[in-house]
Amino acid sequence: MPSDRIFGLICLITAVAYIAAATQIQTNLFSGEFLPKLFPLMIGGVAAICSLSIMFKPDPDPAWPAGGTWGAMAIAVFVLALYAVFLTPLGFLLPTAIAAGILSYQISPNPRPAILSGLGLSLGLFVLFKYALGLGNIVAYRIPTGEKLWDAFTILIPFVGH
């Protein structure tokens, strides 16, 4: 019950914010005053009604994972985010091996298979993408400067990065 009420509330706030943003949409002579706002306003309105309905008629709670699993998932998200920003400065092989290994460990906590699957996936997928499929922008490795790494990392820090 509380899950749905919280979810409904978040959606309601988002919907109201969306409506507010929609009223501020800039228009000009070509688009007319009202048309660019019409559909976003309708969407926001329907979403707000749905959110209210979810808040007042909630479904039973789903089975949420236990505390430790949340931690594992948070680590997974963090690792994937790091992977996303370091893929360009570091090249494919090293980030992929580390990220795949950690993910593998999160799914089944055995270090040896996790390390092996990280290394295997990194090499195997590189060969597949680069030589079998010929994807252009995959680079095996790059040796970055510390500055570039820091630049990449700051992307993840709100209000500091680009």
Binding site: F7, A21, V77, A84, F92, A100, L125
Partner: protein, 501 residues
């Protein structure tokens, strides 16, 4: 005779050695994707689109490859249903009901072959139905104006929402999330950005591929972390595979009826393959009566949902190709593929790009035959592949998703956005909010708004214009009925419980 001439064009396009090779690769890949638990047709096709795109295949080759994957995944879904009692994809859920009990009786091989044949019959009949029906519907669709299209899109969201969730409000909210995301970006008429919050990365809008891969593939990783990869790759034994002629002959009418039911369910915009297999199973269950042995490993209980879901997969292509409105999650992903290839589905597709349409239909027929040949003698190979443990499979899928999206734009922003969609997908699915309407909303949002704007411009802002033609009114009525009816039918049409160990 028109159809035969067109089909000849289609085979002329699709029957070159290279496309045939692509079809075989696609079928093989698709069957694997369908069979692996946690990787359904939507996931599989979604992950492969960016890669196909970067490979620089031309439109026909890419279509042949991806439709083969699509049909292959529909075939493959049954393998894990029967052997592991885990549906590889949602439509295969009904196959577990009789498939798994039959496998437990030591007849796993028979169940696999029988379901393969049923899939073939369903898919073949549906492809023939597609050939007959689609051109006619395309001619009708020529008369649709903006009011009709707006109502039609609404109908798709309503019926999809009605079927996809147990809570209408959640389904409608999901559609709103998708539509809301589609609005982000530079507005085509004014040239000014909308709802971007000033972020330059958002001026181009959010790429639907990023959303699809995030919602379907990355979200799956979190589910596997939660379950620690349980429920995959259990020791599966498969004895010698023979062809159970007796069962096949005994279920021939079941397959035909189920194909018909499935095809019609597939055509309904938004309903899709899950409804097809469900209705086919329930129909056959009531035809067979209480002594039919449904739920205990009856051959008819395997043939019906498999023929039904494959027929629905074909049927779902009818509204997708003629109207641009997909009938299921996977066809939504296929629509995304067409849009990436710069092919706009709709009535004009049949006249202007006849080679693409008929090439696609011909490749469906080819894929179907390839799949039957592949799935009966080679079923053991696919069973072996099922043994890939989750701790290799899921990291692999994630890395392929990242590389696919990265190869599209080379931007970290899309990758971060994809992770965000993965997190969103996890919470939505946890809270029983269907994710397919989100995808559909992102895909169709632009077109739906266009239709509304043109209608408003034509009528000088009179909302009654939306209800000005009988066709439009018919769509509105159907949309409301499709949204409201499941609330009342839910009590009557209870889904049968899966077989527990």
């Amino acid at each position: 005779m028109d159809i035969l001439a067109n089909l000849a064009i289609g085979f002329g396009v699709a029957l070159s050695p290279y496309t045939l090779f692509l079809a075989i690769c696609g079928c093989f890949l698709g069957t694997i994707i369908g069979a692996l638990p946690g990787l359904g047709p939507s996931n599989g096709v979604a992950i492969l689109i960016p890669i196909t795109f970067t490979l620089g295949l031309d439109a026909t080759s890419a279509l042949v490859l991806m439709t083969s994957v699509y049909y292959g995944a529909m075939y493959g879904g049954r393998i894990s249903s029967i052997l592991l009692n885990i549906p590889g994809d949602e439509p295969a859920l009904m196959t577990t009901l009789d498939g798994y009990p039959m496998a437990k009786q030591g007849r796993a091989g028979d169940a696999l072959v029988l379901s393969g044949v049923a899939s073939f019959v369903g898919a073949l009949l549906a492809t023939i139905g597609l050939m007959l029906l689609a051109p006619t519907l395309a001619r009708v669709a020529f008369y649709f104006g903006p009011a009709e299209y707006f109502a039609l899109y609404l109908l798709a969201f309503c019926t999809l929402g009605g079927m996809a969730s147990n809570n209408q409000a959640k389904a409608a909210l999901a559609a709103c999330i998708g539509l809301g995301i589609a609005m982000i970006g530079v507005d085509s008429s004014s040239g000014l950005p909308r709802l971007t919050g000033g972020n330059l990365h958002l001026f181009d809008g959010i790429d639907f591929l990023v959303a699809i891969v995030g919602l379907f593939a990355i979200a799956e990783v979190f589910f596997f972390i939660e379950s620690h990869g349980k429920g995959s790759s259990i020791g599966v034994k498969l004895e010698k595979v023979t062809i159970p002629w007796k069962d096949i002959m005994a279920t021939k009418w079941t397959m035909l009826r189920a194909s018909g039911v499935g095809f019609i369910a597939g055509i309904l915009p938004g309903a899709g393959a899950s409804l097809g297999s469900f209705l086919a199973y329930m129909t056959e269950k009531s035809v067979a009566g209480p002594n039919g042995g449904f739920g205990t490993g009856a051959p008819k209980g395997i043939a019906a949902p498999e023929a039904g879901n494959n027929a629905a997969a074909g049927g779902a292509l009818v509204p997708m190709l003629t109207l641009g409105v997909p009938g299921s999650g996977t066809t939504a992903v296929l629509l995304a593929l067409l849009m990436t290839l710069n092919i706009t589905p709709g009535p004009t597709l049949f006249t202007e790009r006849a080679d693409v349409v008929w090439g696609l239909i011909a490749s469906l027929l080819i894929a179907n035959v390839v799949l039957l040949l592949m799935n009966v003698p080679m079923v053991k190979i696919f069973v072996k592949i099922l043994m890939v443990p989750a701790w290799v499979l899921l990291p692999g899928v994630t890395m392929i998703s990242f590389v696919g999206i990265y190869s599209l734009s080379g931007s970290y922003f899309d990758l971060l956005l994809m992770i965000g969609f993965g997190i969103l997908g996890y919470f939505l699915r946890k809270l029983d909010v269907p994710t397919v309407p989100v995808i559909l909303g992102i895909l169709l949002g632009g077109n739906m708004e266009d239709a509304l704007r043109r209608a408003m411009t034509l009528s000088d802002g009179d909302p009654m214009y939306l209800f000005s033609s009988p066709i439009a009114i018919g769509f509105w009525v159907a949309a409301i009925a499709g949204f409201v009816a499941p609330m009342f039918l839910r009590g009557i049409l209870k889904k049968p419980e899966a077989h527990e160990d």
